[in-house]
């Protein structure tokens, strides 16, 4: 018998000893100092049913931050903690783990790319106060960053070279990507490299102003819009309140799906999460999903300010339950890595590596809601599918397949069991969940996933980190990555959380100083700013839509 060496570590920890009265230890991790980026030990602990992080920098003192707004939900989500496959061909070989330095992806990263991002410009036609990602005059070291099409091609090739799972989902982002005249060409280039899913992160204004743009982009190969949409009133959503209905109409005509992306800020728009869902439901023919994003607090901020704005995934989930009068409850949500039983079952069934959403359980959550065709009420999947039992069953069958069971026998068992997980009496009218799931799991192709969205809204939640709550355990598992012209693949929460090491350096290296860019293009940076044409048009209807003289009919909604 091999000798078992006893390993004790937590009891000897000095970090865990900084707990105070009323606090319960959860785990230790590493984080960074918000002032100097020094890597610090950090304690994750529970207090008054919430989860906090505490860390102390020898130079800049103690930092305590809300990490997760519900301990009960933290515990439930953590049972889905499962490390991913990572990448076999890392771009940055690393002997030892040194997060958050040298990201790119390195040998120690635990998730392959789930969604890649290419910034096609950092120019924007808006100047939102909370946004950290647009170039503006007056800032020291401000560069206009617009990679060339050949640089973009090389970036996409890098994504496709990932192994064991080539990257297959890409977001074109900015700034405001529609400011690039060659956007349709860029989409064609990405599509030509074999990327199946291409989405456009946009404020939608140019798609509202130019009704044919959506069609042109769709024809070029765009899959859907990732549309910034922060609330249903001009106060909560000054950026595109008047424009979104026109954007939706353009997408409707182009048969282009839309994902609403509200940045959720406590005390600013957290009271409208239910209204956003209702507006999405009204436009379910074109809106396929909502991705709520609790705000990431950038720059130096006092604790008081952080407490004013900080909101976490469980807080948003609770507000959605309150604001939908219990139609979508907190128990309906699952963490993103809960998809693993399905992925692993398909992997064991096909004996091929599959796309795995293996991010940290505290990073994101999701649920599906279906609209009952008769009552028009939203019915969460959990209310008619026994998801935990289904996951248990898939895990059991995965074990059997990995232990040598016949895949045909397992497939037959799966087909005979699938209905037992569905309560047909509670299933919304017009839906056959068992059929949809069978197609998705046994055909395991891209189109069956698409069918799954037809009568449903996917509700997602993604909380990007900032320097106050940064957790290396989360960073190491990040699967939302940036492609950069130096052919690295950088996790979102390095790229944007420590811009001085990543984003700013990339933009400086591959961008042009504003003055140089203006001289080269003959344009002024502020020329692209949106002047509220449609807002004014709404105020003075009937009115034209600005320079191109397109007449726009009012659309009900916001």
């Amino acid at each position: 018998m091999a000798q078992i060496e006893e390993i004790k570590f937590r009891q000897t920890s000095k970090v865990g000893k900084d707990l105070r009265e009323g606090e319960q230890f959860i785990r230790l991790t590493q984080s960074i100092c918000p002032d100097c980026n020094k890597i610090l030990p950090a304690t994750i602990f529970e207090r008054e049913e919430k989860v906090f992080m505490r860390k102390t920098c020898s130079e800049h003192g103690e930092i305590e931050e809300l990490y997760f707004g519900s301990f009960e939900m933290y515990k439930r989500f953590s049972t889905f903690w499962l490390d991913g496959k990572g990448t076999l061909a890392a771009n940055v070989p690393m002997e030892k783990c040194a997060c958050p330095t040298n990201c790119g992806l390195c040998t120690n990263h635990l998730s392959h790319t789930g969604l890649s991002n290419i910034i096609v410009t950092n120019r924007c036609d808006l100047t939102c106060w909370y946004c950290f990602f647009y170039v503006k005059k007056g800032l020291e070291g401000a560069y206009v960053y617009e990679p060339t099409t050949s640089q973009i091609t090389a970036m996409v090739k890098t994504l496709r070279a990932e192994r064991p799972v080539p990257g297959n989902s890409l977001q074109i982002t900015g700034g405001e990507p529609t400011l690039r005249d060659d956007l349709a060409d860029i989409i064609k280039i990405i599509r030509a490299e074999g990327v199946d899913h291409i989405q456009l992160n946009t404020n939608g204004i140019n798609l509202a102003l130019d009704p044919d743009l959506a069609t042109r982009l769709k024809e070029a190969g765009l899959s859907n819009l990732y549309l910034s949409y922060d609330g249903v009133t001009p106060k909560t959503n000054p950026k595109n309140h008047w424009e979104v209905p026109y954007t939706l109409e353009s997408c409707r005509k182009a048969n282009l799906g839309v994902v609403f992306v509200p940045t959720v800020i406590k005390s600013i728009n957290d009271h409208e999460l239910g209204d956003i869902l209702r507006f999405a439901q009204e436009n379910m023919d074109v809106v396929k999903a909502i991705s709520y994003q609790p705000v990431s607090l950038t720059g130096r901020m006092s604790k008081k300010e952080r407490e004013k704005y900080r909101i976490t995934i469980p807080d948003c989930i609770d507000r959605i339950e309150e604001q939908t009068e219990g139609q979508v409850t907190r128990d309906d949500w699952f963490p993103v890595p809960s998809c693993s039983p399905v992925t692993h079952f398909i992997e064991a069934f096909t004996k091929k590596p599959q796309y795995d959403l293996s991010i940290h359980f505290a990073c994101g959550a999701g649920t599906y809601v279906f609209e009952d065709t008769e009552t028009k009420k939203l019915v969460p999947m959990m209310s008619f599918v026994d998801i935990p039992a289904l996951f248990e069953y898939l895990e059991e069958k995965t074990d059997e397949l990995n232990s040598g069971a016949s895949k045909y026998l397992i497939a037959a068992k799966f087909l005979s069991h699938i209905n037992s997980f569905v309560d047909k009496k509670k299933q919304p009218n017009g839906l056959s969940f068992a059929k949809l799931l069978t197609n998705a799991i046994l055909k395991h192709d891209y189109s069956s996933v698409g069918q799954f969205h037809i009568r449903s809204l996917f509700l997602g939640m993604m909380h990007f980190q900032d320097k106050y709550n940064q957790d290396e355990e989360r960073l190491q598992r990040c699967d939302i990555h940036y492609l950069t012209p130096d052919l690295r693949i950088i996790p979102f929460c390095s790229f944007n959380v420590i811009p001085e090491w990543y984003r700013d350096r990339i933009q400086q290296k591959y961008g042009l100083p504003i003055e140089e860019w203006e001289a080269k293009t003959g344009e002024k940076l502020e020329q692209a700013l949106y002047r509220g044409t449609l807002r004014r048009a709404n105020r003075h209807q009937p009115a034209s839509c600005g320079p191109n003289e397109v007449r726009i009919e009012p659309i009900t909604g916001t």
Binding site: M1, A2, I4, E5, E6, I7, K8, F9, R10, Q11, T12, S13, V15, I26, R27, L28, T29, Q30, P41, K75, R76, S78, T79, W81, L82, D83, K85, K96, C97, C99, N108, L110, H344, P388, E392, E395, E396, D399, E400, N402, S403, G404, D471, E472, E473, Q476
Partner: protein
């Protein structure tokens, strides 16, 4: 998951310490009695569940282990367990082998892998030691409440039949083991 490489010289797997106990030896017909079943898994599979193997398993993308526990309580007649009192019940425990950023581990190991145990009630536990991890994963306890009507008036001898099973991993072949507990006598009046 990569190819199976069996560990050499491991002990035979077996059910260990299976015991059945009752909250009281005698109880009235219109009241209830609690039966407690306790057992563990011992042998190679338990010995393999240690840090060195976790590191290898993590490196080879074998990061998830689940073990299914089964139990059934029967009435014993003429020395044979013949009549089922508590129908076969099943519970699952899991271990997720993950890369931790615990700063204490960073100091101790080159690659910092640890195990998260998820018990049969889906509660997560980060054990402080390897032995605590093994206890959480390989020891099982369950309680059942029976009514007088379930057993009937008189003296009864009960015994639990228990078992455990797991799948194939880089450190272990799939396995199924079973065993029996001690017999206990209860009286329903």
């Amino acid at each position: 998951m990569q190819d199976f490489t069996p560990l050499q010289g491991l002990r035979r797997n077996k059910i260990n310490g299976a015991s059945l106990s009752a909250s009281r030896g005698s109880f009235p017909y219109d009241e209830s009695c609690t039966l407690n079943v306790k057992f563990g898994v011992d042998g190679g599979i338990r010995d393999s569940f240690r840090h060195e193997i976790w590191m290898d398993a993590h490196r080879r993308n074998d990061k998830y282990f689940r073990i299914t526990y089964k139990m059934e309580i029967k009435k014993v007649t003429m020395g044979l367990a013949v009549k089922t009192l508590i129908k076969p019940a099943k519970a699952v425990k899991k271990a997720s082998i993950y890369w931790t950023r615990n700063p204490e581990m960073v100091r101790l190991f080159e690659k910092k892998v640890w195990a998260l145990i998820i018990d049969e009630r889906r509660a997560p536990h980060i054990p402080a030691t390897e032995e605590e991890a093994r206890k959480k994963l390989f020891e099982f306890e369950a309680s059942f409440q029976i009514l007088g009507a379930d057993v009937g008036r008189g003296n009864h001898t009960l015994r639990a039949q228990v078992g455990a099973s797991w799948g194939r991993h880089i450190f272990s072949e799939k396995g199924t083991i079973s065993g029996s507990s001690n017999s206990i006598k209860i009286t329903c009046t």
